[in-house]
């Protein structure tokens, strides 16, 4: 699933991201990394609006990655942040449990058939109608509140990369 409107920045730029982190998939790290992302975006780009968007993207992508990571020794997560001066790109690479892949693919395909606001509202309606099911608001929230488009790439060794690309 590729974003047709904004090509991933990582294809166009020098090989060095602005931020690159590699860490074990532990829930306890998420708050700290999100707040670093807020600080980094606020400091680097000077807008609180972008800092808030970064928080949503980082929180929800890392939550998904941690929740569904396999237990193997090479399941470390990678987070990178890149920019070309017009767009910003957040990328999270993880090694998910194989059973999670098809539902992630389906969820991403589903939300991308609607515009971000409609997809977020549809996710609310689904959550309301299915009180016993898991929330599944996160990806739609990333698109709408984060102001980004999402793509997923399957990489070697069973790893996947979720990329969120939006305007600065």
């Amino acid at each position: 699933m590729e974003n047709a409107e904004i090509p991933p920045i990582s294809r166009k730029l020098a090989p060095y991201p602005l931020v690159f982190m590699r860490f074990r998939p532990a829930w306890a790290y998420i708050d700290g990394i999100r707040e670093f992302g807020r600080f980094f975006c606020q400091t680097t780009f000077g807008t609180r609006e972008l800092a808030d968007r970064a928080c949503v993207v980082i929180q929800e992508t890392l939550e998904n990655a941690v929740k569904y990571s396999s237990n193997s020794a090479d399941s470390e997560l990678e987070l990178s942040i890149e920019s070309d001066g017009s767009n910003i790109e957040f990328s999270v690479s993880s090694l998910p449990d194989a059973s999670h892949l098809s539902s992630l693919r389906e969820e991403l395909n589903g939300i991308q058939t609607l515009d971000p606001e409609q997809a977020y509202l549809a996710a609310f309606i689904r959550a309301s109608n299915e009180p016993e099911a898991s929330a599944r608001l996160g990806l739609a929230r990333i698109r709408y509140e984060g102001g980004v488009e999402l793509s997923m790439k399957e990489e070697s060794g069973g790893r996947i990369r979720i990329t969120a690309t939006g305007k600065l």
């Binding site: 928080c55 949503v56 939550e63 609310f124 309606i125 309301s128 929330a135 929230r141």
Partner: protein, 126 residues
Amino acid sequence: MSQFTVVQVPKAETIAIQVTAPNQVKLSGTITQKDPATDLAGFFKALHTAALADKLTEVRADVSGLTFVNSSAIRLFVDWATWVKNERGHRYTLRFITSRNVTWQKTSFMALMSLAKEVLAIEHVT
């Protein structure tokens, strides 16, 4: 005696919760636990049940001090709005007090309002 004001407030690490008479609950801090329902779902349900028992016409949920929450926490507000919406007998207005300065509140309560506008009210503070 008011049922609403005697609802037991859960202890949660990153959230401060205050229930005040006759109909207000105030939450501040952040909610980013893996499963916030463990701490909060039962609490919200107890407030809802108490509001019905007290025949309140309005419950004021002041979330303006909640600076960040994850989508699992947003789900809890969806559930609360759904309980009120689906109530067939006495219903109350669930009024969320939100902050214009907190991004997640602007986007998520707009969506929530679309879901259950007949029972919700959104009030903005700075």
